[in-house]
């Protein structure tokens, strides 16, 4: 059964359509990344899924419950964890007070384990918390009642690299236990590290939805070659070579840089098995095949104008 189903979910604010007929599903046990630049409508979707705002048309089901029906959505919420993009806690209270309140309403079977892992300073008052500490406390509140579905809005904002890593490991372990994770992000490296599938939203519309590895395949590889002797540029005349940049290093003054190179870099979306035989007779100093930055892919979707 799908854990989240969007059925033409729309939020029309009049002057702007924040979500325009969104339609997709998230399956049980997957980590689904919801990607888009700031202002694309990610938070609007999440807030409709949790019933904070109501759709102007269409609907969505979360754990099988219609988000427009408060009563049935309440049942689902017992099994949902949520972390807001700016977790708001009562400034005057300590972390423990906040956790106690959450525990009294939804339970806290995993509280100790989570506190050990993420270690927010629970004895201090929230007003003394850094953004990172508030986020850590938010993670504990999102998972403390052992939910089946977790909805996270930009979950790693403000976390240091060590905590990001720990959080990523934690999410992967949760997925193993069958937990479904829906998280929004504009951070691409995070998405590729964690997600099984991604949906990309731009200006309220769903642009694409596909597995992360397919996205990475489409983005191709960045290939760097350094050779001892010049290689004719013709050797790279094959399908899938883009943005080729070549140069000739010192010591090969007789070489015409327009016909040969000793160093080059290009993006390659073709078959790697077609490329390597072309270099088989050349003595290489170095050959690097790296994944292209996802940014390149997103630039295509966003038309190269946004802040991803």
């Amino acid at each position: 059964m799908a854990v989240i189903e969007l059925e033409g979910l729309t939020k029309d604010y009049g002057e702007v359509v924040a979500n325009d007929s969104l339609e997709f599903t998230v399956e049980r046990g997957e980590i689904f990344g919801f990607l888009g630049p700031n202002g694309a409508g990610k938070t609007t979707t999440i807030r409709m899924l949790l019933g904070f705002i109501s759709p102007t048309s269409g609907t969505a089901r979360v754990l099988g419950e219609d988000v427009r029906e408060e009563r049935s959505l309440l049942e689902a919420k017992r099994r949902i964890g949520y972390l807001s993009d700016e977790p708001g806690f009562d400034e005057q209270q300590t972390g423990t007070d906040v956790l106690d309140l959450h525990a009294s309403i939804k339970g806290d079977s995993r509280r100790e384990e989570l506190l050990e892992l993420f270690d927010p300073p629970v004895e201090r008052r929230i007003r003394e918390y850094s953004q990172g500490n508030a986020r850590k406390l938010g993670i504990v509140t999102a998972f403390m009642h052992d939910p089946d579905l977790v909805i996270l809005d930009e979950p790693t904002n403000g976390l240091d690299p060590l905590m990001r890593q720990r959080f990523a490991d934690f999410l992967r372990a949760e997925r193993q236990r069958g937990v479904t994770v829906f998280f929004s992000s504009h951070n691409l490296s995070e998405v590729r590290r964690l997600c099984d599938r991604v949906g990309i939203i731009r200006e309220g519309k769903l642009v694409t939805i596909e597995p992360v590895d397919a996205l990475l395949r489409r983005s191709g590889k960045v290939i760097r070659i350094r050779s001892v002797d010049p290689i004719p540029i013709d050797a790279l005349d094959l399908e899938g070579v883009h943005d080729l940049e070549t140069s000739v290093s010192d010591g090969h003054e007789g070489t015409d840089p327009s016909t040969a190179f000793t160093e080059c870099v290009f993006t390659f979306t073709g078959d790697i098995n077609a490329l390597l035989p072309r270099l088989a007779d050349d003595e290489l100093i170095d050959l690097a095949i790296e994944e292209a930055p996802l940014e390149d892919v997103f630039m295509r979707f966003y038309g190269g104008e946004d802040d991803v």
């Binding site: 904070f52 009563r71 919420k77 977790p87 806690f89 005057q92 106690d100």
Partner: protein
């Protein structure tokens, strides 16, 4: 049930004690000045010097007894005006403050309905309302005894007990503002303005053709003069105040259930 009420009530406890101390000090001041006041004037001569509107506004009936003096200096000024405004202001923050500061999402992500959240947060206002009415009567009775002007214990207790539904009705006004306006500053200002305007309407329109307008003001249904001077308790007024509170709470729940946050 009542997790939110317990949590918010606990958070309001300390402020409520400070509030009670403040009101007890006001009571002490009023009781302390009374003997010199009554010695110097010996009756209601001063009242004749006041314009009629002033007497009406502050519901001054007599200064010739401590009861009459307390009824306007303490209960009209302190309870009807100050505390009425205080609870309306506090209630105006109940929902709007959480919405304004981004805490509402975190609360509503938990399995708790909006109607219940409103009701539980409103119920937590009983902490200041009850604490101030529990802690101040002993101070007032003690003060009266010290200046040798003993008061009827039953009437003083009744003046406080009957102020409870009045204060809840004022809180209801604030609560409605809290769900209608999502900016806490606006909600609080409107709550203060509306509550004070109702007080003026009720007090100043008495005896005019527009007197009926005062019927919507909670102030009409709580009369400390009547309680302290005549020992009569307006139970119909209590019922009206309870009904007002219930309606304001119900409408607030309805508005909040339908609003986009």
């Amino acid at each position: 049930m009542f997790e939110i009420t317990r949590y918010e009530g606990r958070n309001r406890l300390k402020g409520s004690v400070y509030l009670s101390i403040g009101m007890a000090l006001l009571a002490a001041l009023v009781i302390w000045v009374y003997p010199s006041f009554s010695d110097a004037l010996g009756g209601d001569e001063l009242l004749e010097a006041y314009p009629q509107e002033m007497l009406q506004l502050f519901r001054i009936e007599t200064m010739a007894s401590l009861e009459g003096f307390l009824a306007f200096e303490l209960y009209t000024f302190g309870w009807i005006i100050l505390l009425g405004l205080y609870v309306a202001y506090s209630a105006a923050g109940v929902i709007a403050d959480d919405v304004d500061r981004g805490r509402m999402d975190t609360l509503l992500a938990m399995p708790i309905s909006r109607a219940r959240l409103v009701a539980e947060k409103f119920a937590a206002l009983s902490v200041p309302i009850l604490v101030v009415n529990l802690l101040t009567p002993p101070a007032i009775l003690l003060g009266a005894w010290l200046i040798d002007e003993p008061l009827s214990i039953a009437d003083v207790l009744a003046a406080h007990l009957l102020s409870v539904p009045y204060l809840f009705a004022c809180a209801g006004i604030g609560l409605l503002c809290s769900v209608v306006f999502d900016r806490v500053g606006i909600a609080q200002r409107v709550a203060l303005g509306v509550t004070f305007a109702l007080f003026l309407v009720e007090s100043l329109l008495v005896g005019t053709d527009y007197e009926e307008l005062g019927a919507i003001a909670p102030m009409r249904y709580y009369d400390p003069n009547e309680i302290l001077l005549e020992g009569s308790y307006d139970l119909v007024g209590v019922a009206v105040l309870v009904a007002m509170t219930v309606v304001l709470l119900g409408v607030s729940q309805l508005v909040f259930r339908r609003s986009d946050l």
